[in-house]
Symmetry: C2
Subunit: 374 residues, 2 copies
C-alpha cells in the first residue's frame, strides 16, 4: 500500500475495525506528516491544540532553537502542529517533540507512537501501563499454538487425517501448509478448548505419526545439527544440482561449524572425480545423475572431507538437460555414515528453484533419518 | 490479510477505488467460495441467476456426474450457485464450471476469474479482448521505467547525486533502494517527460558513473556468468563464512554449468588445507580470517578445481567468534585469475544473515571487477 493521504486513511479505517490499532510515525512538525490529521478524519473526531502539551513541546524546541542559533519563531508552527491532537485523546507521554497518543473509541483503542525507536520504545511501555490498555489486555487471551511438522506424507493425506479426526472448529483452528515437501500444521487453540484440541491432535496424528518429525518451529537444518551434536558426529556435503544450497542452509545456523566440516560443489564431472573420488567408470556407466554416482559422492564426501557422515545430491534442475529417461526434476540423494547408507530418488515437478529447494530439504531429511532410524 | 468474508469484502472495496480490480478464485460450487456474493455486496449490485450460463454449466456438470456415476441432483445446487452473477455483469467465458465475469461500474471495471491457471489464463486473454477492457487499456499508458544499478557507492551519495541533478518530479519519479550493498535506482517516466528524464539521468549519473554496473535488472551472478561466457573463462569458488551462498547464487542461473565448474565450502581449517591447499603456515601465522588465507583459498580454488578464476570468501559471520582485533562482520575476499588477483576486506554491521549476504554479493562483484577492469 502506498502513503497517499487516501491510502493512509483507508489503512487506519481498516485498523479501527479491530480492538486495537497501533500506528507509528508520521508525527513530525511538517504538514506532510499526517497521521494525527487522518486519524481524526477516520474517527470523525475534532482536532484541538492541547495547551499543556504545547508548553512542553515548546520548552524542548526552544532548547533546540538555541543550540542551532535559530529564532524560535521558525519552530512555532511545527510546535503547534505537534501539539494538535484528536479531541478526547490521552497524551501518554513525550520523549522528543512528538507525543504518544491514545484514543479510546467505541470498540477500538487507537494508539499513535512516534517512529524513532528511541522514542517509540519507552512510549510503548508507557502505553501498556495506561488504564484503557490494561482493560483491553485483561480481556485478551492469546490462543495457544501447537506446532506439528511432517515429512514424507502428502498435504492431502494430512488434510484427510485431520478431517477423519473430526476436523477443526469448536475453538480449534488448523492451518496446513506445504513448504518444499514439508507439511506444516499449526493448531490454534482458544482458551477453554484445550481438551478438544488434545483429543483432535491425538486422533489426527495417530495414523501419520511415522511422518511427524518435529513439534517445534526449528528448521530441519537446525534439527540435523542438534542431532549430530548430541551424537558427536560430523557432517560433510557433496552437491551437484543444488549448487551449495544444502551447505548454505546448514551454515545459516550459528555454531554450525562444530558439526559441519564443509562441502564440495561438484558441478563438473572433473570435480566429481577429482575432488570427491567418484570413479570414472561409474560416471561413464551410469551418468552423473544416477544412484551409483550419488552413492560415490556421499562416500567421497565422508572420506575426502573426513566427516562421519556424507550427504550427496545429484539431479537435473532444469529447465534444460532433461531426457525421456532422465527428466528434468529427477534427483538422487545418498547419505552415508559409519554404519551404512540410505538413498532416495524422486522426480520434482516444478521450476529450477523448486527442484533445487525440494532436493536440498530432502537431503537434510535423509541425513536426519540416517542418524535417527533404529 | 485473512480470508473471512469481512476481510475479503474490505479488500474488494479497496480495489474498487482503482480503475481496475482483478480477482481470481473463490468461485467454486460450495458456499464457502464467496467472491461473487461479496463483490455484489461491495458494489451494491443484486445477484441473479444467468439462465444461459446455467444451461452451459449444467451441460458440463451432467458429463462429470455421468463419469463419476453420481446423480445430477447432487450437482444442481452448485450449478445454480456458479451461475449466479451480479446484475449487469458480462459473462466473459467459461472453461470449467466457474465463469469469468466483468462488471463495469462507475469509475472501475471489476474482473472475476477462476483460480485454476488452466482456466484463468485463456479467460484473462478473453477478458483483455472485451470492449470495456479495450476502452480502459486505450487510456492507460504505462510509465517508462529506467533501471540503474550501482555498487561501491553509498545510498546517501546516490541520493545526493540525484538531488544535485535536480531531483525527481515533473513527470519523473525515482526510487532508490539498497540491497545487500547494491544501490538499485529506478526512474519511472510519465509519457511526455522523456526529455526531462534524459537530462536528469545524465546529470545524476555523471559524478557516480564509475559505480554504475548495469542498466538491466539482471542479478550480479547473471552478469558475471555472461561476462565469463563472452571471455570463455571458467570460475570456481572457495567459501568459508558464506557456506555455499556464492555457489548457490551462481548455480541458480540456468546454464551456469558452462562457466561454473564447482566450489569448496571449507568450513574447517582441515578442509582449507586439504581441499584447497592453504599452507598450514599461513593459517597459523595469520589465522583463517585474513587476507593471506583469502588469497591462498582463491589460488587453491583455481588450481585444485582447475578453473581460470577462483574467488574466495573468509570472514566472521557471527554472532559468536569475534575478537577486538577481528570483529564479527569482518570479511576478506580474493578473486584470482590468469593475469593477477584483486582483494578486498571490510566489516559488515548486521546479523549473521546480513554479513553472509553482503559478503556473497561483494565476492560476485569482485569477480566482475577482476574480469572487466582494464
Amino acid at each position: 500500500m502506498g502513503d497517499t493521504p487516501a491510502e493512509i486513511e483507508q489503512a487506519l479505517r481498516a485498523g479501527l475495525e479491530r480492538d486495537l490499532l497501533v500506528v507509528s510515525g508520521g508525527l513530525g512538525p511538517t504538514h506532510d506528516d499526517r497521521t494525527v490529521e487522518l486519524l481524526a478524519r477516520a474517527t470523525a473526531c475534532e482536532l484541538r491544540v492541547d495547551e499543556d502539551l504545547e508548553t512542553r513541546i515548546e520548552a524542548r524546541s526552544r532548547t533546540v532553537a538555541e543550540r542551532m542559533k535559530r529564532p524560535y519563531a521558525d519552530f512555532e508552527p511545527g510546535v503547534r502542529k505537534q501539539a494538535t491532537v484528536p479531541d478526547g485523546a490521552l497524551v501518554v507521554g513525550l520523549e522528543g517533540t512528538a507525543p504518544a497518543l491514545l484514543l479510546e473509541l467505541d470498540g477500538c483503542i487507537a494508539v499513535v507512537l512516534p517512529g524513532p525507536p528511541r522514542e517509540l520504545q519507552p512510549l510503548w511501555q508507557a502505553t501498556l501501563e495506561t488504564e484503557p490498555m490494561g482493560r483491553l489486555l485483561a480481556r485478551a487471551a492469546a490462543p495457544e499454538r501447537r506446532v506439528l511438522r511432517f515429512y514424507g506424507v502428502s498435504e492431502s493425506s494430512v488434510a484427510s487425517a485431520l478431517a477423519a479426526a473430526g476436523g477443526d472448529g469448536d475453538g480449534v483452528e488448523a492451518t496446513i501448509c506445504a513448504r518444499d515437501s514439508e507439511i506444516h500444521v499449526d493448531l490454534f487453540v482458544d482458551p477453554g478448548a484445550e481438551e478438544r484440541a488434545h483429543a483432535l491432535e491425538d486422533a489426527f496424528v495417530a495414523p501419520i505419526a511415522g511422518y511427524l518429525y518435529s513439534r517445534s518451529e526449528a528448521a530441519v537444518e537446525e534439527l540435523v545439527l542438534e542431532l549430530f551434536r548430541q551424537r558427536r558426529l560430523t557432517l560433510a556435503t557433496a552437491e551437484s544440482c543444488t549448487g551449495g544450497l544444502v551447505s548454505t542452509r546448514l551454515t545459516s545456523v550459528p555454531g554450525s561449524s562444530d558439526v559441519f566440516v564443509g562441502g564440495v560443489v561438484a558441478y563438473s564431472n572433473d570435480l566429481k572425480t577429482g575432488a570427491l573420488g567418484v570413479p570414472d567408470e561409474i560416471l561413464s556407466a551410469h551418468g552423473a545423475v544416477s544412484a551409483e554416482t550419488a552413492s560415490a559422492m556421499a562416500q567421497g564426501a565422508r572420506m575426502r572431507l573426513r566427516a562421519d557422515v556424507g550427504v550427496s545430491v545429484t539431479g537435473i534442475a532444469g529447465p534444460g538437460g532433461g531426457t525421456a529417461e532422465k527428466p528434468v526434476g529427477l534427483v538422487y540423494l545418498c547419505a552415508a555414515g559409519p554404519s551404512g547408507q540410505m538413498a532416495r530418488d524422486f522426480v520434482v515437478t516444478g521450476d529450477r528453484e523448486t527442484v533445487r529447494a525440494r532436493a536440498a530439504v530432502a537431503a537434510l531429511h535423509l541425513v536426519r533419518l540416517l542418524v535417527t532410524e533404529p
